[in-house]
């Protein structure tokens, strides 16, 4: 308990010392300060520079010295027993300091061959820490979170809920103030995209503008959370995490049927299935007592990885590969631990041994799954073990599966051997053909020991261990993912790595507060999201000044609301929804919308059902981005251009780049052009020849606010120019309008429609159109 208090005390103190995620800069400010935190200042330096050779990996440990534990660092050196790596309180007697400062290449640490080097500030931090007693602390992420008291705030008029106290405190410490609340319509757009991935409709915009009653904002939040589009929006993240695809990957890359799992994810978010059940079903729904087909379907989570259909593969090599993928996905997405290093050797930075790795692996190793079920010529849309979805299920327990015909569907799910147990061995260097010591299912003690009295030694036990309130990681990892979805960056930036090399939380107490609150609420996902979006932090304006940028260029402390480029799927959704093209059907088999010609054909082996891209017709061209068919070897190009995951492996964070290829994709994608034309026709129908009203509606639909006067003037000027052009060049007018499959009435083939269409294209290409403001 005292340790715990001390730890919090040190954390608190460290807040104002710790300036940002980059270690290089943070330590500069530290040297002058009195307090050094092992977790926040020292360990990052030691971990990055020393632990690879003097850390947890016993096989690679040099000179028998280990610096990641107190015992190891204080002990007499093996090679020179009268010396010690670290002598608490005495830097000059500490061998570590001598070695760090040595000018002799043969003595200096880290050795020149490692290409690592400590800065002078970093050396000072180490010395200071040693002189203060060289106190070690348990890794922050492995200590269960506790709710701290809310800090005091100097922004009493600004704070709205608990979150804001933590944010406000840090802002004050670094001398920044939060922004004023965002303009109403900016906030509406922000909420609408963050919660549903769709822009607010004209009606919603109008109603919200007029709603001056108290609680208007809360009503909007509640409505959005109840919109079925909420589940679709959340599913985009979960599809990346569960590496969902519609094909098997590897070279022949034939079609598979996992989409009922995707429908389940949407359904679960929409009905607000508590996160503990959401995870338990996915990990071990099949092992629950008398499991329903829904609970079994959830286990498809473990089966979404790639499957080879290449003739002549060695079955066991791939069976191992699949299990490794299951293990890595579980640990990264749900525990926030990057453990794959330990497949081949003890982890170099984290207390995860190779044995620990294969103990995790053992949980997934007891299925009748095969490494290879024949080549592409005998391919089926699911692989053993399989669950059949029958017609009766659709009217009953699986009513959320959007299946329109009478055929049965097969889905790859989990199942364990009943009477036998497949043995698991540590694989030397991770090689399938090099088993060494047998292990049984268990979990690393450093995180939380696996209580065999409490939990069965199977996936259900693993799920219970994962969702246990003592587990220090699970809740933190999920609330951080939600934070990342709503602010663009997590409180822990490395959302899939909470280990020694991961980023430290920018607001550790806030993270812990949210994690505990989330557990106390019964893992209520919608409540968590509502809490975050109801904060003043979330609702502040996105305006940023030069002063703020200079002080906090990455907006680590959230003194303004980050402007975030929409994700690839939601860019598509925005275009479809604002033009009225969107077909709002939930779930079902993935669809094949417009795609530049020849992409599948250029890369295919020629075998399998997916050698040729057969574009859909009709409604299927206008479904949400979530439903676009993912062929792993040639994923849909536009999402990739906009930083979407290629779904090869579990991903928890997407990049956000700004590239010329994105500009081309917005300017020339036939879907954007068709949507612009369809919207132009709509505007003509709504407003006749009243250009002003037409332009205003177009802008409002796409940008979700009314244009300012000078914006309006520019749009009108452009409209007039285009009108003149099309009047003079009827041929250009016709070819401009001829795009997409939605038919165009003859009476709409006018220069006015074409000119309006061009203005709409321009509005779609505004930076603000694809940015949540």
């Amino acid at each position: 308990m005292i340790n715990r208090l001390l730890y919090i005390f040190l954390l608190l103190l460290s807040f104002f010392l710790y300036s940002c995620g980059e270690k290089g800069d943070s330590s500069g400010a530290l040297v002058s300060a009195d307090q050094i935190s092992y977790n926040f200042h020292v360990r990052p330096i030691l971990s990055d520079n020393c632990f690879a050779c003097h850390g947890p990996d016993a096989n690679k440990r040099e000179a028998g010295l280990r610096l990641d534990t107190e015992e190891g660092a204080y002990a007499a050196l093996k090679e020179t027993p009268n010396a010690h790596a670290i002598v608490p309180g005495n830097p000059s007697k500490s061998e570590v300091v001598k070695r760090l400062e040595s000018t002799d290449d043969s003595e200096r640490m880290p050795p020149p061959s490692s290409n690592l080097k400590l800065s002078d500030e970093e050396k000072e931090v180490i010395k200071k820490w040693i002189s203060k007693g060289a106190k070690y602390e348990p890794h922050w992420a492995f200590v269960p979170p506790k709710k701290a008291d809310l800090p005091k705030t100097q922004h009493n008029d600004w704070v709205k809920n608990e979150i804001d106290y933590f944010i406000s405190q840090k802002l004050t410490q670094i001398g920044l103030a939060p922004n004023e609340p965002a303009e109403k319509l900016h906030l509406l757009k922000r909420l609408s995209f963050d919660l549903t991935g769709l822009p607010p409709s004209l009606e919603v915009i109008k109603a919200f503008k007029q709603d001056k009653e108290e609680g208007a904002l809360e009503r909007v939040i509640d409505t959005l959370l109840e919109d079925p589009a909420f589940g679709e929006r959340m599913a985009v993240l979960w599809m990346d995490i569960s590496r969902y695809s519609d094909s098997y990957g590897y070279q022949d890359d034939n079609i598979r049927t996992q989409w009922p799992y995707r429908d389940w994810v949407i359904h679960s978010f929409n009905r607000n299935l508590p996160y503990d059940e959401f995870i338990t079903w996915q990990l071990a729904g099949d092992l629950l007592p008398d499991p329903s087909k829904e609970q079994i379907l959830a286990t498809a989570f473990n089966r979404n990885h790639k499957y080879t259909e290449e003739g002549g593969v060695i079955e066991e090599e791939y069976r191992v590969e699949y299990n490794v993928d299951k293990t890595n996905t579980f640990t990264k997405a749900i525990l926030g631990m990057t453990v794959e290093c330990a497949q081949c050797h003890d982890h170099k930075y984290d207390p995860i041994s190779q044995k620990n790795y294969f103990q995790f692996y053992a949980f997934f190793n007891n299925t009748p799954e095969k490494g290879y079920e024949g080549d592409v010529s005998v391919s089926k849309p699911a692989k053993t073990p399989i669950m059949w979805i029958e017609r009766d299920d659709l009217g009953d327990v699986l009513s959320f599966v959007n299946h329109q015909d009478t055929s049965k569907i097969m889905v790859s799910v989990m199942e364990d051997f009943r009477d036998t147990l497949r043995q698991t061995f540590i694989l030397d260097r991770g090689m399938y053909d090099a088993p060494t010591v047998e292990v049984s299912p268990s979990t690393p003690e450093a995180i939380l020991a696996f209580d065999e009295g409490k939990y069965p030694k199977n996936r259900l036990g693993l799920a219970k261990w994962t969702m246990s309130p003592e587990n220090p990681l699970t809740a933190r990892v999920f609330v951080n993912l939600m934070w990342q979805e709503l602010f663009g960056v997590g409180i822990v930036k490395s959302a899939g790595d909470y280990g020694m090399q991961g980023d430290l939380p920018t607001h550790p107490e806030l993270l812990d507060w949210l994690a505990v609150d989330f557990m106390e609420s019964g893992w209520d996902v919608k409540r968590l999201i509502k809490k975050i979006v109801s904060s003043a932090t979330y609702q502040q304006s996105a305006k940023v000044t030069k002063q703020k940028l200079a002080k906090d260029p990455d907006n680590t402390y959230l003194s303004w609301s980050p402007r975030i480029r929409l994700s690839a799927e939601h860019i598509r959704d925005m275009v479809l929804a604002s033009s009225g093209l969107l077909v709002r059907e939930i779930g079902g088999p993935s669809v094949k919308p417009y795609q530049p010609e020849g992409l599948w054909e250029a890369s295919t082996s020629g075998r399998g059902e997916l050698a040729i891209y057969r574009q859909d017709k009709g409604d299927n061209l206008y479904r949400r981005g979530l439903y676009t068919f993912i062929k792993l070897t040639s994923p849909p190009p536009k999402p990739i251009i906009f930083d979407g995951s290629n779904r090869d492996l579990c991903e928890v964070t997407r990049g956000r780049t700004n590239t010329p290829l994105q500009a081309l994709a917005m300017l020339n994608d036939p879907l954007v052009l068709e949507a612009s034309r369809v919207l132009a026709v709509q505007l003509k129908e709504n407003h006749g020849g009243q250009t002003h009203e037409a332009l205003e509606e177009a802008f409002t639909r796409i940008i979700c606010r009314t244009p300012k006067k000078e914006e309006f003037e520019l749009l009108e000027e452009f409209y007039k120019e285009e009108l003149e052009r099309f009047k003079a060049e009827p041929k250009e007018m016709l070819s401009t309008l001829q795009v997409g499959e939605i038919p165009l009435e003859d009476n709409m083939k006018t220069p006015e429609t074409a000119a309006l269409m061009q203005v709409v294209v321009a509005i779609y290409n505004l930076e603000e159109a694809i940015t949540r403001t």
């Binding site: 980059e22 290089g24 800069d25 590897y250 070279q251 890359d253 080879t308 003739g311 002549g312 593969v313 060695i314 590969e321 990057t338 290093c341 930075y349 290879y372 790595d497 280990g499 090399q501 991961g502 996105a542 305006k543 940023v544 940028l549 402007r563 530049p596 020849g598 250029a602 890369s603 295919t604 020629g606 792993l632 070897t633 040639s634 990739i640 290629n646 090869d648 492996l649 780049t657 590239t659 010329p660 290829l661 994105q662 500009a663 081309l664 994709a665 300017l667 020339n668 914006e711 452009f718 041929k731 250009e732 070819s735 309008l737 795009v739 074409a754 290409n765 505004l766 930076e767 603000e768």
Partner: protein, 485 residues
């Protein structure tokens, strides 16, 4: 010309604000739009690269063209001459040679492993006296310009992991491709073209498909992703303006967009908005630059003759070789070709001949062409597949028709230019062509050597991701000094 048009299209307002823009951001940022700005922020990406201090030593090569022969061409019918296999035709592969090494599931069930020699003859060429099979007469003529490595070996035995290993340094996972590493490490030489371009073609033999993850940026910034060029109307996705719009119409729209975006910048102050404006300008320049470079119709007859008439048929290997030269000449850092169809499990003598016919002339032409332009010295050209093929027959066996299974333990590839020792043959396999007996070169060694030629220490080109510093060479790799000039 293009600049004039750009300038001409700018109205007064716009010009003012663009000049403000460049003052604010600095000329460096405007000079390198395709690569992340070195001096902008302090993201891990930038600091890692700055710390890496590239180049680590004087580079020999500035650019790479990689002619990937996808499917694994047989070394025994190309560069690794093994007359013993013809002498002992049909005899069982001795266990003393095979040493129980693993086989693929396609032949592990075979009751016998009959040795089979090349149906096609071999001769020696050039001053290096290199053996080249009769299937590659054009390559035979340039042997004194290339370095043949007969002792390549890899770890994977199936296509997908083997290809992925060659391209990313790891068999599985979503690691950055070597082209992405170079784009990250060296940036672009041409602001109007991507620094990493990918060209695909298909042969007549048994094909194995390629996958976009082979040219992925992995955990690097997505600007380093390989840009796939297509032989269709749009050489780069979404490049062409729609029908009914010409360049000046586009210019007008972009000017309006820039002004509107600038207003948004005034309102929000978000620097990303200015970046967006620049990216639209870059896109506009690409719309001119890419069609210019991909237009092969203006090549003189002598060039068409050199590469062969197929080079005028878009999407063929010959056309891609010529396009590769043009892209490279224009400063594209890494041009990656894939040619499918080299997976001869059966019908090898016939299919291999067709594959060679499709590729031999253009591969050699590329070397000759680069040489005559004085570019070979600074351009590294690589030819090879993902592994080799077995010395024993897969399936039904006859002297003139046979197949070969995958063989990762020994295979051949060649390199030319960019500081590679020309006219050399490196490494040796045993008389059976099964095991390497001299100077083995692992895929990691190949990567280390390639990076070395580009002035990069493979151990120092790193990127920190999820807590670990990654390298193209993982934790291995040695520069093969004997291959260097």
């Amino acid at each position: 010309m293009e600049k004039e048009r750009l300038e001409g299209g700018l109205n007064e307002n716009r010009r003012k604000f663009l000049s403000k823009l460049s003052l604010g951001i600095g000329s460096v940022a405007l000079g390198s739009l395709l690569i992340p700005d070195l001096f902008k922020g302090k993201s891990t990406l930038d600091t890692d690269r700055l710390m890496a201090n590239i180049p680590h030593f004087a580079p020999k090569a500035k650019r790479v063209i990689y002619l990937f022969q996808n499917g694994a061409p047989s070394q025994l019918e190309s560069f690794d001459y093994k007359p013993m296999l013809n002498k002992r035709l049909g005899e069982e592969l001795p266990e003393s040679i095979r040493m129980g090494q693993r086989l693929t599931g396609m032949t592990s069930g075979q009751s016998s492993f009959p040795l089979v020699g090349s149906y096609h003859g071999f001769k020696q060429y050039g001053q290096s006296d290199a053996w080249v099979s009769d299937l590659f007469p054009y390559t035979a003529k340039i042997v004194d310009d290339i370095c043949i490595v007969k002792s390549m070996h890899t770890e994977a035995i199936n296509h997908d992991p083997a290809l992925t290993f060659f391209q990313t340094g790891a068999q599985v996972g979503n690691r950055p491709s070597m082209g992405a590493w170079l784009s990250y490490g060296l940036g672009s030489e041409n602001n109007n073209l991507p620094s990493f371009c990918v060209l695909l073609s298909r042969g007549k033999g048994n094909g194995q498909g390629v996958y976009s993850k082979l040219w992925t940026n992995g955990f690097l910034d997505s600007v380093h992703q390989g840009v796939q060029f297509s032989s269709g109307e749009d050489p780069v996705l979404y490049l062409n303006d729609p029908d009914g719009m010409d360049k000046s119409d586009r210019r007008r729209m972009l000017d309006k967009l820039a002004e509107l975006n600038q207003m948004s910048y005034q309102a929000f102050g978000d620097p990303e908005i200015n970046t967006k404006i620049q990216q639209y300008e870059m896109a506009f320049r690409m719309q001119t630059a890419v069609p210019e470079v991909t237009d092969l119709s203006k090549e003189p007859d002598s060039i068409v003759k050199l590469y062969g008439p197929e080079c005028l048929v878009p999407g063929t290997y010959a056309a891609n070789c010529l396009l590769a030269r043009k892209l490279s000449e224009n400063g594209v850092r890494f041009v990656q070709l894939y040619h499918q169809g080299w997976d001869q499990h059966g019908n090898l003598p016939n299919e291999m001949a067709m594959q060679a016919k499709d590729t031999d002339q253009a591969s050699a032409a590329l070397i000759t062409d680069l040489k005559q332009r004085g570019l070979l010295d600074e351009t590294l050209v690589i030819w090879g597949g993902e592994f080799g093929r077995t010395n024993y027959c897969q399936g039904r066996f006859s002297e003139d028709n046979y197949g070969r299974d995958h063989h990762p333990r020994a295979f051949s590839m060649w390199m030319a230019g960019g500081g590679v020792k020309p006219g050399t043959v490196y490494g040796e396999t045993d008389e059976f062509g099964y095991n390497i007996v001299k100077d083995p070169v692992h895929v990691h060694d190949f990567h280390a050597t390639m990076l070395h030629l580009l002035g990069i220490d493979h151990e120092r080109l790193t990127f920190r991701h999820q807590g670990r510093r990654y390298r193209l060479t993982d934790v291995a790799g040695h520069v093969v000094n004997d291959l260097l000039v």
